[in-house]
Amino acid sequence: MNDHYILKKDHLNSLLRRLMKEYRLVAPTKNPHGDTLFSIIDSIEQAHIDLASQPQGSIKPFLFPQQEVLFDYEHSATIDYHFEHTPDSIPTAFFGVRSCDLSAVLYMDVIFSQKKRDPYYFEKRNEAIIISLACNEPFANCFCNATKTGPFLEYGFDLQLTDLNDRFMVETGRAKGCEIVKRFQHFFEPVEERDSKAQYQAFLEARSHFKQQVHVEQAIKRLAREPIPEEIWESLSLRCQDCGGCAYLCPTCTCFTITDLATSASSGRRIRSWDACTFSGFTRMAGGHNPINSRTHSIKQRFLHKLKYDVQEHGRPSCVGCGRCVGICFGGVDIIRFINKACGQN
């Protein structure tokens, strides 16, 4: 059973300031252009923490950066080839992470450990505290109700907050969350019955406010049962512009590439960068042969991986219903479009 407490909104900034003494604080902030993005907060007063909008990106880049140095190397022809990895792990408190994005982190925890343990991911993950925010009001493209990754979660968070107007209901999940409550007891008050009722009410209302009806279950069943007609792959792939926007913004897309960046004739850095299975070069081999016809099948792996292969392997899809690819794709090749087509709708 999770423990429940009340945190008055008046106390939020003081709590965050206390956390900032020990952690780098990352929260959704609105920039002067009106974009809401997760960013590092230097001063609570100056940052516009924005809990009302959907952050345009997830916290993926903080745990699995778009580009990261795996190590530096130095080569001397017949003497040595030396590799130096400098660990990069700043204890970080993530605040205001939505249920979908937290679910995506739980997925990455599996992806970066099940075959082999990825030290770069866990270097950062092990130093992270995640304070999530349940969604009282789903955003325009959200469908986490259909992927079962929100709007409220029961586990996975260190702390989960529910907005109850002038106060937050705080739930402890993992040990690090319990520790925060214990250490900063004076910020937390006991829960009254009306608070529990208000949270339940918020939960019920949130569930009824989804604007998208996405038949994720039905699509998963169909994919498990029969192949999708070739025309569907083709018509969607032909509209994919090879931009990678969906994969970059998607909180669960974790494909990457590795390249050497020379700093001299005999030294350099090995870099890992985000990649996307939708790119035509993703599977291209030396000599130019490509086992995948990227013109007609560029998006097949993306959707099957999320809705079929991950279901086979982990028992659940790896789309968390955040709706970001719906907003970003100018060719309309997003996952809702695909699910609708797979279910025989247009």
């Binding site: 190590f71 080569h75 080839y81 990895h85 990825d118 004739a265 005999s266 990649d275 030396a286």
Partner: protein, 281 residues
Amino acid sequence: MKGNNENIYLPYPARIVRIVEENNQIKTFSLTFTDPLRNESFEYSPGQFMMVSIPNYGEAPISIASSPSRPGSLEVSVRKAGALTTAMHAMNEGEILALRGPYGKPFPMKSLEGRDLLFVAGGIGLAPLRSVINFCLDKKKDFGSITLLYGSRSPEDVAFQSDIKCWQEEESMECLLTVDTTGPGWLGNIGVVTTLLGRITPNFARTSALVCGPSLMIRFVLAELSRMGFSDENIITTLERHMKCGVGICRHCYMDNTLVCVDGPVFSLAQLRIMQDTELC
């Protein structure tokens, strides 16, 4: 294995102790780790591959061409295909590159015991099979007869000539060579490697076929072996894909729901059929 904090991406330096020029496209490199302890503890099986690091060029997956039954040095045969492999060809004996691995599922050596083996290879595709052939020759009593069908583009392209010479002297082994286009002094077969299949009469019940080469060749050979009467379980091949991490995370080598780096690169035709691989079968 200990060291390097078990960071799966960190390679280990290895010295090129010998280079053999197999033809004008292929060189075989004998390598030893600069750390003697690593040489001692390094273990692998035929069919596995290494990620080879060349400074400033990154990494490439390369099959191990030597046999674990011949410890001492690790051999890889590399065809000049692009930037990294060309840079590797420019390296000299004594120079240092780096390795991580071994990776991938090896050939099922245990279940091949007691069976006759038919190897069908094209070009550089003989590299991973050379590991198996030498392994079997070193454990002759565990395996039946060995037949190699090897195709090259032209007589000058025939690689692994010193190996072939040794193999031709083996009583339990037969080697049939073919070239696509003939040249002066060529006495062997002319035509693609499938033409050699017509010249053998294997006992299907007790023979397993191991195939490696360009994907088009694999496709034709698998189809022909199947037509001849080999069961899908007894036809085994090893596949090439674009790979970056080698350990099942980066996903470049996907084939539907499998990852060639960890689920393969060795697959039986039966497995390929389940995967509905449209390129090969």
